[in-house]
Assembly symmetry: C2
Homo-oligomer: 144 residues x 2
DNA sequence: CCAATATTGTTGCGCTTGCAACAATGTCAA
DNA sequence: TTGACATTGTTGCAAGCGCAACAATATTGG
C-alpha cells in the first residue's frame, strides 16, 4: 500500500533538482571567482540591465531575494570591488548599484560559463526541453 | 542587446520555484505542527517505508540530505516524540528510526495536505503536467 | 589474530538566511 | 506646515546548513 511517494512529490523533486543545479553551477565558478549564488544574481541583474537605475529594492523585487539578503550580498560585492553604490539623485533612501569595470570583467567570464551550462542542460533534455520550460514558466507565473 | 537573461535561466527558475513551493507548502503545516522541511522528509520516508529498517544512512541516501542534516532533524523529531531511535540488531554503528504512534498520527494529518497541494499544482499545470514531470524526471536522473 | 582501513552518526565551526526591529527619509492628508 | 504613515536599506538574532573532524564500531588483508 503506497501511502505517499516522496520521490514523485513535485515540491521534493523540484527542491532536489534546484540544489543540485546550484551546486553544480556554483562549482564551475566559485573557486575561481569567490562568488555565491546571491552575489551572482545581483551581478547578472546589473549586467543585463545596462540602464543602471538599479536599487536594492529593484533587485529584491525582480530577483526573488529578501531585502536583507540583497543588502548583505551587495555589501560583499562592494567590498570585493565588483560593484559601487551611488546615491539616488532625488530620493536619499535609495541606493543605486552599478557594476565597476572589474564587475564587467568578471561577468564577461562567468556569463559564458552559465550560458554553456544551460546549453548542456537543454541538450540532456532533448525534445523534452520545450515542454519542460513551458511547464516551469506556467508554475512560476501561477503564483504571483 | 541581451547579454544574459536571468529570467529564462533554468537554474534560477528552478531555484525560485523550489523556494516558493517549500515556503507555500510549509506554511500549510509548519505553524500547526512545528515541522520543518528536513523533518518532513524523514517522517514521509518512515511513513511510506513500513519495513522499518530505516537508518540515518538509508535516509541520507534516499532523501538527498547530508548526514549531519539528517542527524539533527532526527534528534529534533525524537525530542518531539514523533520518532524513536532503536539500535540495529547486529551492527552497533547503525541507529534505526521508526515512527511513534504520535508520528503516525501527524503523518495521517499532514500527508493529505501534501497530496492536495500536489493535486492543486497539477491542476494549475493542466495538460503541461505530464511533459513537465517527464522533463523533471529526466533532469533528476541525468545527474546521478 | 591484528593492524590498517572503512563506515556510521554526532558535533564544533563558520557561513548564510529570514524575520523583525530600527533609523533615515519621503509622502500625504488635514 | 505638520503629524501620521509608508518606504528603503541595515542589523541583531536565532535557526539551519555543509564541511570537516571525531569517536565508536565494523571489515578486510596479511
Amino acid at each position: 500500500m503506497e501511502k505517499f511517494d516522496l520521490n514523485s512529490f513535485l515540491p521534493y523533486q523540484v527542491n532536489v533538482l534546484a540544489s543540485r543545479m546550484s551546486r553544480s553551477l556554483e562549482a564551475r565558478y566559485r573557486n575561481k571567482f569567490g562568488i555565491t549564488v546571491s552575489e551572482w544574481r545581483i551581478l547578472v541583474h546589473l549586467y543585463q540591465d545596462q540602464a543602471g537605475l538599479v536599487s536594492t529594492r529593484d533587485i529584491q523585487q525582480r530577483v526573488d531575494m529578501h531585502k536583507s539578503r540583497v543588502s548583505r550580498a551587495a555589501k560583499k560585492l562592494e567590498g570585493s570591488g565588483y560593484i559601487i553604490k551611488r546615491p539616488h539623485p532625488t530620493d536619499r533612501r535609495i541606493i543605486n548599484l552599478a557594476l565597476t569595470e572589474k564587475g564587467h570583467e568578471i561577468m564577461g567570464e562567468i556569463s559564458p560559463i552559465a550560458s554553456q551550462y544551460q546549453v548542456d542542460l537543454l541538450a540532456s533534455l532533448g525534445e523534452l526541453g520545450k515542454p519542460f520550460r513551458d511547464g516551469l514558466n506556467a508554475l512560476l507565473e501561477a503564483r504571483t
